[in-house]
C-alpha cells in the first residue's frame, strides 16, 4: 500500500477548482462521440525526431470543430513540438497532419488555415497595436476599410480600442497578451493554436484570462488548441485534454473523465490530489475487482478494466471520496485504520492527513459543515478510513 503524493499538495485549496467543471457551457457537446463527424484536425501517427531524440512519438489524435482542446504535460514532453508541427514550423519525421480533410503535412506555414498565439506573444515591436492586429489581414490583400473594420471588431472584443495607437512595449503584460490573442483571431481562422498563452501572467490575471479565452472561443465558434503544463488551466478551459508524457500520448478524455478515470498512475498523480494503493488482483467478478493490498487490507472496487488474477495494479482514490470517522465501519473491505497526523483547515473543507499502521500517509477530505453534528476529529485521533466500492479507480499503467 502506497500513497502517491499529488504534485500540488502545496496549493491544496486549488485542487478543488481542479475538479471537473460543473456548469460546463458545452454540456452535451461531444462531437468525438459522433461517428458521423469527421475531425477538424487529425494527427496521424506523428513522430518527430531531433537527431536521435524522439520529441513526439507516434501520436494520433482527432480534434473536432469548435472544441477547446488542451495538450497537457510536463516541461519537455513534446507539446510545443506537436503544436509547431500543426502550425508548420516543424516538419513531422513520420505521419500526416490533416486539417478539414486536407493533408497539410507539406504545406508552408503561410498557406495554412491556422493562426497561432505565441508564448512570448511575438508582437511586432515596430508596429502599433492596430497594425499588429491587422497584419494578417493585410497579407491577404484585404482593402484598407475592411481591415480597419475587422481590426476594430477584434479590438472591441478584447477591450483594446484605447490602445490602438500604442506600440507593444507601451503595454502591460496582460494587454500584450490580449493583443496577441486579437492578432491570432483577426483573420477568423478555423483553428487557433495557443502555446502557453497565459504563461507570463500572474495567477489572478491568469484566471481572468482563462475565462476570456473561453468567452472568445465560444463567441467566435473557433476551434482552439491550447498547450499548457498547468493542469488547472487545462481542466478549466478544455472540452477535452490530451495528456502527454515523454513524447507519448497517455490519455485523451474530457476533464471530468480524466479526473474520475485516470488511466495511469502518472495521470492520476498529475491531475489533482490522489492516493494510490498498490496491490495484486485477487478476484475478478462481473463488474468488480478485488485487490489484496500489500499490508493485508482488502479492497473491492467496481471496474470494467480487464485484469487477471495475480496482476499487480494500483488503486487510485481521490481524497474527497474517502470517508473519515472515529467509529469502525461495519464492512471488511475498503477499510483502513490510522491516526490523524495533520489537518489542513481550508474554510469550507479540511484535509486530514492520516498515518496508517504501516506508516503510509493518506489524505482524506471532509466538508466542515459536518463538524457540528458529527464528532470533531483532531490531531492524534485514531480514525477509520473507508470508501464505497464505486470510489476507487484501478490503474494498470
Amino acid at each position: 500500500m502506497v500513497v502517491a503524493t499529488a504534485p500540488s499538495q502545496a496549493n491544496a485549496a486549488s485542487s478543488q477548482r481542479a475538479g471537473p467543471r460543473t456548469a460546463a457551457p458545452q454540456t452535451g457537446f461531444a462531437p468525438w462521440k459522433n461517428p458521423d463527424l469527421s475531425p477538424m484536425v487529425r494527427f496521424e501517427g506523428i513522430t518527430k525526431r531531433f537527431d536521435d531524440f524522439v520529441a513526439v512519438n507516434n501520436v494520433t489524435i482527432d480534434i473536432y470543430e469548435k472544441e477547446f482542446f488542451a495538450l497537457l504535460g510536463p516541461s519537455g514532453c513534446g507539446k510545443s513540438t506537436l503544436l509547431r508541427m500543426l502550425a508548420g514550423f516543424e516538419r513531422p519525421t513520420e505521419g500526416r497532419i490533416i486539417v478539414a480533410g486536407q493533408d497539410i503535412t507539406d504545406m508552408p506555414p503561410y498557406e495554412r488555415p491556422v493562426n497561432m498565439m505565441f508564448q512570448s506573444y511575438a508582437l511586432f515591436p515596430h508596429m502599433t497595436v492596430e497594425r499588429n492586429i491587422g497584419f494578417g489581414l493585410k497579407q491577404e490583400g484585404m482593402s484598407k476599410d475592411k481591415i480597419e473594420e475587422r481590426v476594430d471588431e477584434a479590438m472591441g472584443m478584447l477591450e483594446l480600442r484605447q490602445f490602438a495607437k500604442r506600440k507593444p512595449n507601451q503595454l502591460s503584460g496582460g494587454q500584450q497578451q490580449r493583443v496577441a490573442l486579437a492578432r491570432a483571431i483577426a483573420k477568423k481562422p478555423r483553428l487557433v493554436l495557443l502555446d502557453e498563452p497565459l504563461g507570463a501572467l500572474d495567477k489572478k490575471l491568469r484566471q481572468q484570462a482563462q475565462f476570456e479565452l473561453m468567452r472568445i472561443q465560444e463567441t467566435t465558434g473557433t476551434t482552439f488548441i491550447i498547450v499548457t503544463h498547468d493542469q488547472e488551466e487545462a481542466m478549466t478551459v478544455a472540452s477535452r485534454i490530451a495528456v502527454m508524457e515523454k513524447g507519448l500520448l497517455q490519455q485523451v478524455a474530457t476533464p471530468g473523465d480524466i479526473y474520475e478515470n485516470p488511466k495511469t498512475r502518472y495521470i492520476a498523480g498529475f491531475i489533482g490530489d490522489v492516493n494510490v494503493f498498490e496491490g495484486t488482483v485477487s478476484k475478478v467478478s462481473e463488474g468488480c475487482i478485488e485487490i489484496d493490498a500489500a499490508d493485508g487490507y482488502k479492497f473491492k472496487t467496481k471496474s470494467s478494466e480487464s485484469v487477471t488474477v495475480g496482476q499487480k495494479v494500483g488503486l487510485a482514490l481521490r481524497p474527497e471520496k474517502i470517508r473519515i470517522g472515529r467509529e469502525k465501519p461495519n464492512s471488511d473491505v475498503n477499510v483502513i485504520p490510522g491516526k490523524v497526523e495533520d489537518i489542513g483547515y481550508l474554510g469550507s473543507i479540511s484535509h486530514y492527513h492520516v498515518r496508517t499502521a504501516a506508516g503510509e500517509r493518506i489524505t482524506a477530505l471532509r466538508a466542515n459543515a459536518a463538524h457540528t453534528v458529527e464528532q470533531s476529529i483532531t490531531w492524534e485521533d485514531a480514525v477509520w478510513l473507508d470508501w464505497p466500492v464505486d470510489a476507487g479507480v484501478v490503474l494498470t499503467g
Binding site: 503561410y110 497561432m116 505565441f118 511575438a122 497584419f135 483573420k187
Partner: protein, 300 residues
Amino acid sequence: MRARISDLKRWYVIGAPFLWLLVFFLIPFFIVFKLSLSDVATAIPPYTPTFSWSKGISAFISQLDFENYTFLFSDPLYINSYLSSLKIAFFSTILTLLVAYPMAYGMARAPKSWQPTLMMLVILPFWTSFLIRIYAWIAILKPEGFLSLFLIKLGLISEPLQIMNTTTAVYIGIVYSYLPFMILPLYASLEKINPSLLEAAQDLGSQPWRAFWQVTFPLSMPGVFAGCLLVFIPAVGEFVIPDLLGGSDTLMIGKTLWTEFFNNRDWPLASAVAVLLLLVLIIPIVLFQRQQEMEREAGR
C-alpha cells in the same frame, strides 16, 4: 577627508571626458581654425601672422581674416571636390550596405556556435596594415594584375581591364575597407531580432520574402543607420584610397587638402578646407550621435 576624496573622484569621472575632448579635439580644432584665418607666407612656419607677446593680442587678431574661405568659394575646384567627395561617399555607402547586408544576415542566421568565428573573420583584415591592404588592391586591379589575368584565363575578357586609377577603383577600395564598419552594426541589430517574430509573420500569411521586408528590415534599421554613417563620415574625407587607387580625374576633398598642404604648402588654405569639411560632416555626425543615444535609451 573621505568626502573630499569622493569629490575628487567625481570630478575626475566628469572631468576626464571633457579633458579628453579639450586636448584632442577642441584645442587642435582652434589651432586649425586660427590657421585658416591666416595668410600664406614663405617662412617657417609658412603662414602669417604668428603670435608674439610684444605686439599684443589685438594686433594679432586684426591680421586674421576670412580671405581663404571666400577664395574656396570663388574657385570651383574646391566646391567640386566637396560635391564629388559627397557623391562618392554616398554611393559607396549604398554599395557597402548592399554587400554587407547579406553577409550580416547570414552571420545572424548561422548556427550560434559559428557566430564568433564569422565575427573574427570580419575583423581579421584589421590585423594587417590598412596601407598594405590597399597596395594589395593595386596588385589585383592593375591591368596586368590578378583580376585581369584571372578573367582572361577564364576567357571572359580578351583585353586587360582598365580599372586601376579610375573612380571605380576608388569605389572598390572604399567598399572593401569600410565593409566591417557596416557589417558589425548590421549584425548586432539583426542578431537581436527574435526569430519567433518571423514565425509569427509567416503564420499570419506572410511569405518569407514579404516577412523580410515587413519585419526583419524595419527592425534592422538602427543597424542600417549606424552602419551607413560609420561608412559615410570617414569616406567623405578619405585620402589614401583615392590617392592610391584613383586617377587624376577622381576629385576628392581629402586629396585636395593634401595637395594644398604638402604640395602647395598653403597651410592656411588647407586649414580652411579642413574646417569646411568638418562643417559639412557635422550634420551626419550629430545624426549619428543622436541615433546612438536613442539606441542606448531603447536598450535600457
